[in-house]
Point group: C2
Chain length 342, copies 2
DNA sequence: TTGTAGGCGTTATCAA
DNA sequence: TTGATAACGCCTACAA
């Protein structure tokens, strides 16, 4: 406790050291190590060997200072303990890595102030591009992007935004697919367990749900819409609320799979059987959806694709290419066992 | 497509700019901005205001180059789509942030080569410390740490290692708790769905399981031990295998919660009821464990604590303090509905 | 209390 | 094909 260890700071090998050893100038070493064209094969090989031998490690820091590029992407996510996010992050990371970029990860927990700080830090570190998942900020990013001249891409921002570079699933279509599916199974009283109304994608899913009802002349009953928290707890409570109604729904569409998992449990607690008594549909198709019991009928978002496209978008923007944006990704109905005819 | 956008590179405001504007030297500005003691309150305030007004953003890059510290921690994880990992990462991230450090995240997917590359990159970027979760590398880190003079902390390395700075759960004790619990419920034929034998913590959990049996004079039957993949699929198949035995077990202990979730499904597919026919115990206590049906009896690892302690350990080491290591964290039995008397 | 000078490790621009 | 020189933006002596 408190005992201090003496650390002998091993001075790092620099290109100067190599230059001295090889009897050439630092410039030449730099050229050799960066595989520049104008250098003789002989010295190049010699320098490479020497660098290897001396244990040379290039300093990304120094390089960044002079090139003004860090080969770094800042990634701010709401939280990582969300299966949906957890599927997107590796996709981003792998595309970044292929392009030889590193990813700075920070969580903002849907707190505006924290998100601001995180992005500020990215700026200090001079990341070359920024991706924000489930941003709680409004339109600020449009300004920031212009002011800093750094590409910023938003994935599924929580608030509606005029920011141009966004990627998200087609929530309206997805919700419609889900609701249509339930209607096709013969259901007429269909509930929706959503999220607080300020969450844009929740609102869009509600819209899709309503459109689908309208298209089939099924009246919209506000009693059948309850609000959750996008996690299991909200689903559990939402389901209990719905099942306690005088005329409970025979089918329930959930904002996401986690909500559905909670709803499943809520149903069991109330002795409601899924899908025999009530059909259930989720949204996202996280890997877990197929492993729960009953396997969950859900709307598939391709998280991998979303992550890849978003990362590619920043890379393109960094390269000065214009890209197609905003990007609204297709969704797909995946029918499993949690939904059945009435 | 391919259309190129002209980007006007807004030159960043530097301390020189502020110095010129304020009519002082860059050094003074630096002092003011860093709240150094030897500066008059007047100029300090003036410079702060000016910096604000001019939109000054300090360059972490330049600062790092001169100070030789990046205030950055490299975090290599196996994958982020694992609930256990997903719980640890935010803990690390938040401790780091409190100490004013940023986290570089990379996934190594339990591939030795990739892990090596990731750590190499950390070196280029001169991270001040490194944390590796589920490292696939063996003892290399001891050497690296000495060679680079960078603190490296391993969380639950996959292979046994002589590396000193490690943090992991007490696997043996945890497995014993689980098995004891099942024995106490009257079970005698207890299965174990594990992971490949080269995974050290899997081996330790197997050891704990065997110790517990031994202590109660229950013979160890190798038929009751099957190997999974630490994910749902492995649990599903493992359970099917176990239930197909001539003398199937009446209780099953799983390597982790995901395995247990798969096992749950495997049981249902074979019309085996949990816990009526077979009791089930997991390991980790991921948040999901309490939300599935039946809620899962499991061994709790405090992922938050593990992450915090690991991060604190690198911070301590970076500060030159010696710390207690290796750290073996306590586990705890959490009884829910998936286990019951025989 | 303030300023000057030097350097952190690279790369870029010239000139040789 | 090579080398000298000057940045990049900041901090840390040391001097004033």
């Amino acid at each position: 406790m408190g005992k201090t260890v003496t650390r002998t700071p091993v001075r790092r090998v620099t290109i100067k050291d190599i230059a001295r050893e090889a009897g050439v100038s630092p410039t030449t070493v730099s050229r050799a190590l960066n595989d520049k064209p104008d250098i003789s094969d002989g010295t190049k090989a010699r320098i490479h060997a020497l660098a290897q031998e001396m244990g040379y490690v290039p300093s990304a820091i120094a390089r960044s200072l002079v090139t003004q590029r860090t080969r770094t992407i800042g990634l701010a996510v709401r939280t990582i303990s969300d299966l949906w996010v957890a599927e997107i992050v590796p996709a981003i990371e792998s595309v970044a890595r292929e392009a030889d970029y590193e990813v700075f990860l920070s969580c903002h927990y849907a707190a505006a102030e924290l998100e601001k700080r995180v992005v500020e830090t990215f700026r200090n570190r001079q990341v070359d591009g920024i991706i924000v998942i489930s941003s709680i900020a409004g339109d600020e990013y449009r300004l920031l992007q212009a002011k800093w001249n750094v590409p910023i891409v938003l994935i599924a921002p929580l608030l509606d935004t005029t920011h141009h570079y966004t990627v998200c699933a087609d929530d309206v279509e997805g919700a419609q697919l889900a609701t249509d599916h339930l209607i096709a199974l013969g259901h007429r009283r269909i509930g929706y367990i959503g999220v607080p109304s300020w969450v844009a994608c929740g609102q869009r899913r509600l819209d899709g749900y309503r459109h689908a009802l309208l298209a089939q002349d099924i009246p919209y009953d506000p009693c059948l819409v309850v609000l959750g928290d996008a996690h299991e707890q909200g689903g559990l409570e939402g389901m209990q609320l719905l099942m306690a109604l005088l005329q409970p729904p025979t089918a329930v569409f959930c904002f996401n799979d986690l909500t559905a998992i909670g709803a499943l449990r809520g149903a069991r607690l109330m002795n409601v059987r899924i899908p025999e008594n009530v059909s259930l549909v989720g949204f996202d198709d996280v890997p877990l959806a197929q492993h729960i019991d009953p396997p969950l009928t859900t709307i598939r978002q391709d998280m991998d694709e979303i992550g890849r496209r978003a990362c590619q978008m920043v890379l393109d923007l960094m390269a000065g290419h214009e890209t197609v944006a905003p990007l609204v990704m297709e969704t797909r109905l995946v029918v499993r066992k949690s939904s059945d005819r009435i």
